[in-house]
Amino acid sequence: MPKLYSGAEIVFKCLEEQKVSHIFGYPGGAVLPIYDELKNHSSVKHILVRHEQGAGHAAEGYARSSGKPGVVLVTSGPGATNVVTALTDAYMDSVPLVCISGQVPTHLIGTDAFQECDTTGITRPCTKHNWLVKNINDLQRVMHEAFEVATTGRPGPVLVDIPKDIQFAKTKYVSLKKEKKIEIKNNNRFKQKDIDQLIELMNKASKPIFYTGGGVVNSGPKASELLRELVALTGFPITTTLQGLGSYPGDDNQFLGMLGMHGTYEANNAMHDCDLLINIGARFDDRITGKIDEFSPKSKKVHIDIDPSSINKIIKVDLAIVGDVKDVIRSTTKTLKKKNLNLEKSNKQKISKWWQQIQKWRTKQSLNFINSDKIIKPQHAVQRLYELTKNQDTFITTEVGQHQMWAAQHYKFNKPNRWMTSGGLGTMGYGLPAAIGVQVANPKKLVVDIAGEASILMTMQEISTAIQYNLPIKIFILNNQYMGMVRQWQELLHEKNYSESYSEALPDFVKLAEAYGCVGIRAEHPDELDEKIEEMINVNKPVIFDCHVDQAENCFPMIPSGKPHNQMLLGPKDQEENKITGKGKALV
């Protein structure tokens, strides 16, 4: 008779076969059998968080910096509901997560039992798929399918809900290799004909631009390499979305910077005026397009994406190529080389006028700000952080708000998977737990969470986690005592009525750091900034860095209020001349 395994053992057997080395979780009544089993599986290390949302974001940081799926383990009821924000965040930003949740025993489901909630019902709209395992014999199939669904196609979160009696129940276990292959929807089926059409468009274009997104990062490091080759080969300018940062070197001359609401003047104007727009792995998000009716009016549009439902969802395109961007770029480069060996030179001549125009836009230096020697400007702080950390392989996470945009604008990334930020959902409190996940996946590397003082307080408790596992993450708080982005919108759109956006009664972050057992550093003057940042980098412990910055600083440039790309606000001066009037407040 074959050996029988309990449901809890099967969970770990599956994790082992999926080569999971870390799980992020929090125990509770309905997952105790799984926690009991943890001691017998030394290859799976458990990271105990302080709140289930933290487990979810940490798993996201782990996944985005390592390319492997993040695994979360939570209990029923509040454990599951607490992780919903992180699942939604992962769903919006296409991060592969496998969340295992405990559930009350099957005979109690539907009776309003203690810590019962309809977990699969609640998480249905924020996962790619979820399962309630009511039969022990389904467990291993479901577990492996969960990993398959989370990591294939457009990645995303999945959830497996396991009632407590199923965790105790016993059955046989068949190794994954012996199981028949799981059938998963495959959309990587583009044709050479599509590539030929793309190349024809590229040949005709005189004002082309690449607009690339998180899909390039999700497609793996190879995709970024191939993208660099393609961009060099064509000589076309390239701009990336917030999530695409790092897929192309931030300091390269062909790179126009980030586009969108707080993107550069040259990137947005190039998007508006181009005659060929090649979208690779981005989704025409509303922070990118601005006013839809006036979005890139003169261009032929190409969209390369693994998700067929992204095509024509927001912007109607002329050529859609559904496939893994890595494979599409590879085929494109291959065909380009075959067809035209002297492409680099001929193309550069053809589009030289376009580059002249772009240079003109660049002279605006839209990311400039007026520095001060009396008060730390937040942009200056990010620039100094970049200069002092660029000599090592640094990983940056952020919270959400002004500091996030300044980080995106002023920190330059050269490699993919180095930039973890909550883009789609915009989750304040994302950065600290994400940094924990990044540090777990990349021990010895420098991990900095560029944060705001309001965001950080949302998941502050996770500093305890960092201390417990000796994860020397650096929390770099740009402290302006305001929910800065809220304050900025109130200034621009609501007649400076700063309703509830001032952070009253902030803690002393240095003392707070000491209370948690990590290091607190404060910088209040531009003169001391470099020295303090150096100090932060050199400490081999978690650090909370309280950087007091200008309270009134706004994040520019900015596409205001549903305007098209070519009507950007450049700075405080520009803003006076372009007063925003009329309705629209209601739309936010």
Partner: protein, 182 residues
């Protein structure tokens, strides 16, 4: 035009609304209907009628027929979003005007009255394959199959013939001729 003051763009012009019949083949498993319906409600799509039942016991397949209204862009999104769901096998999409597709709904009418009145009611239903499922000396249950607007009309007309209760299904659809949808 009034300038927008919002950080979200204002809605652009909508194209014309069309009515479509979406047919979805799904694994007959727990919560599959909720996934499909949740997709519609979550993304703000509209459901006019819904019919669902298992059609293949061996392979455990159910067929869901949804009548929906939307712009061509929305209809395209509905189909693509449905195809992404894990338990969905294939999705058919037909315009209501499509001559190659048959649509039918079924209705049950309960009519109260003497045999003369019931006969009149039955007569009024003549065009729609009426079947008497139950009859007493003062009531009858009549089944008809017809299009949605025909049933709408009948429910109005039968009021004067003693109609007191109506029960009806969503539309089901099938292509004409020998071909099947793939």
């Amino acid at each position: 035009m009034i300038k927008s003051k919002s950080a979200y763009s204002s809605p652009s012009k909508l194209s014309k609304l069309e009515t479509h019949i979406i047919v979805v083949w799904v694994d007959n498993e727990a919560s599959v209907l909720s996934r499909v319906v949740g997709l519609f409600s979550g993304r703000g799509y509209n459901i006019e009628s819904l019919a669902v039942a298992e059609v293949d016991q061996k392979n455990n397949l159910s067929r869901i027929t949804i009548v929906t209204t939307g712009t061509p862009e929305v209809i395209e999104q509905i189909v693509l979003q449905l195809k992404k769901l894990v338990p969905v096998h294939k999705v058919g999409n037909f315009k209501r005007e499509d001559k190659n597709v048959i649509f039918k709904e079924m209705a049950l009418f309960k009519v109260i009255g003497n045999s003369v009145k019931i006969k009149k009611a039955l007569n009024a239903c003549k065009k729609f394959n009426p079947v008497i499922l139950d009859q007493t000396n003062k009531s009858a249950v009549i089944q008809i199959t017809a299009l949605r607007r025909e049933i709408d009309k009948m429910t109005k007309n039968l009021k004067s013939h003693g109609l007191i209760s109506v029960s009806r299904t969503g539309a089901v659809a099938m292509t004409r001729g020998a071909e099947i949808f793939n």
